[in-house]
Structures are given as C-alpha cells and as structure tokens.
C-alpha cells in the first residue's frame, strides 16, 4: 500500500477510459455516491453538487478517527469534512456547493449541466422535476446527454413514491426472506447489500450508456430500480417458485448455512478457539470428503459406513457438524483455512475488517486497499478496485472534496465565471 506522495489538491487532467467525460453529479447518500465513484476512479470528472444546508448523509455519519460511535448516534453538529464514509465514497470526485432553492443557484446548475455530458441523481422522485430538470430540459441543455436516475422502485408505477434504503429493498425484493435458519425469523442482511448492488448496476448502466453513445451518437435516460435488481439476484430460488409453483414459505426453508443445490456436506460455519471466531467449510463430493478426512488425520468416526455417500452425509449433517466443530474448536480460523486448503478442501476463515485490512496477504498482494491523505482526516485507507487490468489502472488523484472545495475551480475554469462573480455568489449564499 503506497501513500500518494502529492499533497497538491488542485484538479488535474485525468487518465483512464473515462478521461474527458464530465458528470454533473446530483447523487447523495450511498447508492448514488458509490455508483459515480467508479466513474471518478477511472478518469471521469465527476462534479459532486452539494447543498450546504442539507449535508449529505455520509458527511454526517459518525465514522471518525478516535471517536467510535454507532450509526444512529450522530454528532448533532458534525464537521462535514471529518466523515470517513464520505471520504470513502467520494474520493477522486470534485465538489461544489449550490443552493438549489435560489433561482441563481438553479441557473448555475443549468450551466454546469450544459458543460457536462452525463447527469446523475438518486433523489426521491419529483425533486429534479421541481428544479425544472426533466430529461427533456437536460437534452436542451446538453444534447445527447446520459441521464441516470437511481431509485428504490423506479420512476414509474404506483409505488414510485415509496421510501427506501438498503434494508427496505432487501425486505421487499425477497432477499431478506430467503436468508436465515429454518422455521424462525430471517437473519437477513447485516449490511445494505442492495445499496452496493444497486450502485454497481447503476455504474454498469452508466458505462453502457456512454459506450452506446460512443457508437451511435445517442444519449439516453436510465431508470434502474433497486428492487428489480434484488429480484434478479434471487436466481434459481425464484425459478423454483415460477416453474414448479413451489412456495418458499414452507417448513425447512431457508436452510441457513446448509446447501441442497448442489448437495454439500459438511457445509457450514464452525466455531474456533476464540469467542465468536468462525471458519467456513464446504465439501461437495466424495473426493472433497476424502481430502477432508485426510486433513483431519483420518479420525475413526469418519470410517463409519453411514458416512459412505454424499447423500448419506447430507442426511447426517447434525452428526458431521458436531464432529467437525469438535475439531475446529481447538484451532484458529486461519489455521483451519490453510490446513484444509492445503489439502484441497474449500475453507475460509470468516474474516473481519481487521483481517482484511491488516493481515490478508491476497488483498495486500493485489493492492486492493490504498491510502491517500486528507486535510482534515489525515492519511486514510480506501476500498479500491477488485478488478485489475493488464493495461490500465485506477487513477487516484485525491481524497474526497472538502465541502465546496472546488467551487472556484469549477465555476471559473469550467463555467468561465470571473473571480469577482464567484466571490459574489459566495457572499450571497448561492454557493
């Protein structure tokens, strides 16, 4: 992990497949910020448009160095430049502030859109329209614009106004119901996984639209509904319902960590020597089983002829799990992982964030986490690209913008305003 040497925060020409693409980015919260982050990482000039009086949630969430707080226990008067989540989401972006409740502010936004070829937003439906920013108007301002609208439910249909965020999307799309131990409440998700996935799908939609415009010259409006992404991710579970008319609301479903398709056993998460540390093991066939038994030192219980076939072992998982737990319980997760992987059995420590950031040699080898300096936060670590390219790389030029950090640059260099005009806008509270 190499810290970026430069402390020069002035915008510079970007490199990468999106260099030269300017994005007027109205996104806020999680989904939108993560979606446009990929564009910023690979060369686009993503200009994040913020409102000083309505701070973006990641600026307010209490992820501060040396000040652990739980989400929901925010500082009532946060320093908007101190938030770690904002830094993680908005690195490599430019930041401007515009007061959209003023007509001069809206004019400024129109100018910025006219100077951009991509516009992004993830507000509640109606907000962009209230500012007069319909797709038709955006096309007038920037012919063949790509306009990405990211929402929970999409921009048509009776529930268009429903409020949502990750956990609501997970519940409504079925992703929560299918997750848990049988015959009790779902365990669901301990994160806004659908904020991640909706963001990744929106990144893909934006890249497709830019690719398409490159070939055909045509812009497009994009409508991605997070609920519809989530339903797609149900995969074979939903096909079983659709084709076999077989409800999932049935005894024994869902199956927790056990796997029926394909028939795997043992297949689970097993306790290790320290409290609440675990290791995952997945055995899919007779060869896997033979390797597992060998790695365990050929214990006598494994000779039991009742464990002779994969189907039999699947039926006797309670017993298998007990034997395997007895063995894992005296070892650390990584000890088990390396011992079993060394024997050719799929196994992994259930890693926590410290494992990933500090000791995981694979992540270190790929340089997935990287470091950049920030004027308020100091050196900080970032989640980089899980994809490596032979002929290009992520262009990390700066940590996240301070609130309004690039007002002067964007309004003078991009929009052509004079220094005096920018000073006046600031004095009048427009920016």
């Amino acid at each position: 992990m190499q810290p970026t040497a430069s402390t020069d925060r002035r915008p510079r020409p970007r490199t990468g497949p999106l260099a030269g693409v300017r994005v007027a980015d109205f996104c806020w919260m999680g989904v939108g910020a993560v979606a446009t982050r990929m564009l910023a990482d690979f060369g686009a000039d993503v200009i994040k448009i913020e409102d000083r009086t309505r701070l973006d949630m990641p600026r307010r969430l209490p992820l501060y160095k040396d000040d652990p707080r739980t989400y929901g226990d925010e500082d009532p008067n946060p320093d908007p430049d101190k938030g770690g989540l904002f830094n993680n989401y908005s690195r490599n972006k430019l930041g401007v502030t515009i007061n959209m409740r003023t007509s001069r502010g809206r004019e400024l936004a129109d100018q910025l859109i006219a100077a951009s070829s991509v516009v992004t937003e993830n507000f509640a439906p109606g907000v962009m329209e209230r500012w007069g920013l319909t797709y038709e108007r955006l096309q007038e301002l920037s012919p063949e614009v790509v306009y990405a609208r990211m929402s929970g439910y999409g921009h048509t249909g009776p529930h268009v106004g429903y409020r949502s965020y990750g956990p609501v999307i997970q519940a409504v799309s079925g992703m929560t119901f299918v997750s848990g131990l049988p015959d009790r409440e779902p365990s669901g998700w301990g994160l806004s996984h659908m904020d991640n996935q909706a963001a990744y799908y929106n990144s893909a939609a934006l890249l497709m639209a830019i690719l398409h415009r490159g070939v055909t010259g045509k812009g497009t409006e994009i409508d991605v509904s997070a609920v519809e992404v989530g339903i797609n991710l149900l995969g074979p579970i939903l096909m079983d319902v659709a084709v076999n008319d077989r409800p999932t609301r049935r005894p024994g479903f869902p199956t927790g960590n056990r796997l029926e398709n394909p028939l795997a056993a043992p297949h689970g998460v097993y306790p290790c020597s320290e409290p609440d540390r675990w290791v995952a093991v997945a055995v899919f066939n007779d060869d896997d089983w033979a390797r597992l038994v060998g790695a365990l030192g050929n214990p006598s219980w494994a000779d039991d002829p009742r464990f002779g076939t994969q189907a039999a072992r699947h039926a006797l998982q309670d017993e298998l799990d007990k034997h395997l737990s007895d063995w894992t319980r005296t070892r650390t997760p990584h000890e088990v992982m390396h011992l079993l992987q060394g024997a050719g059995v799929a196994a992994a420590a259930v890693q926590d964030a410290e494992d990933l950031a500090e000791t995981d040699p694979q992540i270190a080898h790929r340089g997935t986490f990287f470091e950049m300096d920030h004027p308020v936060i100091g050196p900080a670590r970032f989640e980089g690209s899980p994809v490596l390219f032979s002929d290009m790389q992520q262009d990390n030029w700066r940590s996240a913008p301070l609130l309004g950090e690039d007002n002067h640059h964007v309004f003078t260099e991009v929009l052509g305003l004079s220094d005096d005009e920018v000073a006046e806008l600031a004095a009048e509270g427009i920016i």
């Binding site: 048509t156 009776p158 609501v168 079925g174 365990s187 290791v279 490596l388």
Partner: protein, 400 residues
C-alpha cells in the same frame, strides 16, 4: 426506441463453471451480446445443479442452469485436438473470452491468455476467479459460502445470539457480487478499447469484490478502528441497536428501523398509532423531546411491536409508506408475482421453457429510453447452436 444496444454485435465466448461467470454471461446476453456458452459433451456442471423442474430429468431440467444462462447459445466441444482448435478459433473471432475457475484452469483447456491476446489484439479476456490471477491464495478453492466468509460480509450477517454462527444470505450472493464487478470491469475495458483499439486482460477476484462490499464494516475499521457486531436482520454495528423486524398479525415480518432523532417520521408514527387507539402515552407532550424518547426507547419499542402485531403486513407496508415511513415488507419470492407495482412496470417476463410451457422470469434490471434489452429469453438446450455457430466460425471479422 432502438433495437441496437451497446452490446449488439459483441461476440462473447463463455467458459463458465460457476454462477459468477454464468451470471456475467447472462447479463451480457440479456442485454444483446452474442454469448456462446461452450460446454463439454455431458453439459456444463450447472446443468446438474438443482432445483430441477418437477418430473423432468436430463440436461434441460436444471432451474439453476435456466436462471443463469438465459438468452445464450450453447455449443458443445469435446477435449479432442480438433475441438480444442475449434475453441481457439471461436475465441480468436470473439471480442470477449469469459472464463471462471482458478487461474491456470483455462490453460488446461489449451487457452493461453497471453498467446490469444497476441494473436487477437482486440480480445478482452475477462477472467473471473475466486481470488485473482496470482497471489498467495490464487490457488485456493472457493464457493459462495467460502467467498462470503473470506471476503468479510458473512461476519455481518446472522442473529443477535452469537452462539449461532454467522448465517450466509440466501442464493449465490457472493458469486453475483463478483459478477457485478466482472460486468463493470468488462465495460471499462471495452471503453478503453474504443479509444486504443486494444483489448486487455481483466482480472476479477470474487474475494476482493466481497472485501470492498462490506459497506460500513471496513470504514468502521479504517477510521475509529472498531469492529461491527452482527444483529438479526439489521445493520451490524459497533454496539447493539433495537430490533428492526416486527411481526404482523398475519405472521409475517416487516423491516422498520425506528429512528427517534427525526421529528417528522416520529410524529407520523405516533399519529398513525393514535388513529388506531394504540399510541398510549406516546401522545404525551413529554415524548416530543428527543432525550425523553431516547430514555424510554424500550417502552416505545414495545408499543410499536404491539401496534404491528394487531395489523396485517400488507396494510402496515402500504399505509406506513403512505404516511412517509420507510417500512419494508419481507416478501417471500412467491409474493412478488402479484405485486401491483411490479405488474404496472411489466417487470416479469414470460420465458419459454424446454417443455414448451412458459414461466415468469425477472425482466431486465436496466431500463433505457433509447434502446430495449432483448432478454431474457430461453436458456439454450445442450448443443442447440453447435452446428450454426461452428458453420460461421473462422469467417467473421474480429471485433466491432
């Protein structure tokens, strides 16, 4: 509305053995790419993975295969010298080679990435692997569970009771997270190719895809250096929060995170409970003070639990949302087909099944005003397109 999509004319050869690769190929095919799935004579491994269509056996019965291989073409090639050469020719004629498995597995099939790229400079090799092309864990085996465990998200999922291990979310969500990065990684490489004329190797690691998808877990470590603890069906946090799943009268669950700090939703909730005569002392002016609400959180929680317990889930979802509260009903998959919103959007798509029947499959998660994704259409029968595709091999111009 145009029939030309960003992927029209894009030729993809898919050698995928796991859902990460197969789902990537599905995304491309449903969006208009010409995806040729190359299978061994006995069929891809996923044809043997359940669930299966009831009463059906054989290579077309797998619903896992149908879900992850819609809109593709199937070409059967054996391991013979002649078929290996056919495969090489298909790849050289293609824009994209999509592979899965550990690094080196493709080499075993006679495909040397470096050599292929040299012969076909526009080729993008999209290699989706468990841990990446190289590195100390590159040869390790994986699965959906193993990927989610090593990558971190698993530790955030489970129950309040930590005697119960972390619980893997349902489906193939680890694999499908890698598929998302494979898709965007390919798009970045195609955009770069449109500028330089050259393809490249795109090295997608499922492990890294999941390691950057833990949402708050990594930032909580990067900044305050604290770890999050899993809680039932709600965000893992540094310290415990109130339950967010509420049971309804009809024995379903709703997700509702009671956030006391915001006055407007608090008032909306109290008004709603009061309209049913169930607000009890929450209407007391003392509760308009945040500090008072926080001191009495357990009491508030109990009253909300009672309110949910005496109403049906559908009512709570729609009436709550009408009142501006972000309440989510935990739909079972079978509930989705009757959802009025999804019906109004025409989301589900009838897709022909191998026995001639039709079944509803999820429609495209992408909507564009200027073009329509053509898929999903039926997954191919084993070898359905072998003759057709091989007849055209070796003649096409490379790339578009």
């Amino acid at each position: 509305m145009s029939l030309t999509t960003p992927y029209t004319g894009l030729r993809v050869v898919e050698l995928a053995e796991d859902p990460a690769g197969e789902y990537t190929g599905k995304l491309l095919a449903d969006l208009g790419a010409d995806v040729v799935k190359v299978e061994p004579p006995e069929g891809a491994a996923s044809r043997g993975v359940g669930p299966f269509a009831e009463g059906q056996t054989g290579p077309e019965a797998s619903l896992a295969f149908r879900a992850y291989n819609s809109t593709k073409k199937s070409v059967v090639l054996s391991d013979s010298e002649q078929d290996r050469e056919q495969l090489r020719q298909l790849v050289l004629d293609a824009d994209v080679l999509l592979t899965t498995g550990r690094s080196g597995d493709a080499t075993a099939r006679g495909l040397d990435f470096a050599q292929l790229r040299e012969l076909s400079p526009r080729l993008v090799v999209l290699a989706v692997t468990p841990f990446g092309q190289d590195g100390p864990w590159a040869h390790y085996r994986s699965s959906d569970l193993i990927g989610l465990a090593a990558g971190g998200p698993l530790l955030s999922c489970g129950y309040d009771d930590h005697e119960i291990p972390p619980i893997r979310p349902g489906g193939d969500q680890g694999y499908l997270t890698a598929a998302s990065f494979a898709h965007t990684g390919l798009l970045l490489a195609l955009l770069e190719r449109s500028r330089t004329g050259r393809g490249q190797l795109v090295d997608v690691s499922m492990h890294d895809s999941l390691a950057v998808s833990g949402e708050l877990a990594n930032p909580f470590w990067f900044y305050p250096r604290v770890k999050v603890q899993r809680q039932t069906a709600r965000h893992a946090q540094p310290s415990p929060t109130q339950p967010a799943l509420f049971r309804s009268a009809d024995d379903r669950f709703l997700y509702f995170a009671l956030i006391l700090a915001d006055q407007k939703p608090w008032q909306a909730l109290v008004d709603w409970m009061d309209s049913a005569g169930l607000a009890a002392d929450l209407v007391d002016p003392a509760f308009s003070d945040l500090a008072h609400r926080q001191r009495n959180f357990s009491h508030v929680q109990e009253l909300v639990e009672v309110f949910f317990l005496v109403h049906d889930a559908e009512f709570l979802y729609h009436e709550g949302q009408r009142r501006g509260l972000p309440i989510g009903i935990t739909n079972a998959p079978e509930d989705l087909f009757g959802d009025e919103h999804l019906q109004a959007r025409g989301f589900f798509t009838p897709v022909e099944q191998p026995d001639g029947s039709t079944a509803l499959q999820p429609g495209s998660p992408y909507r564009f005003s200027t073009f329509t994704p053509p898929g999903p259409t039926a997954a191919p029968r084993l070898g359905q397109h072998t003759a057709q595709v091989l007849a055209g091999a070796g003649h096409a111009e490379v790339g578009t």
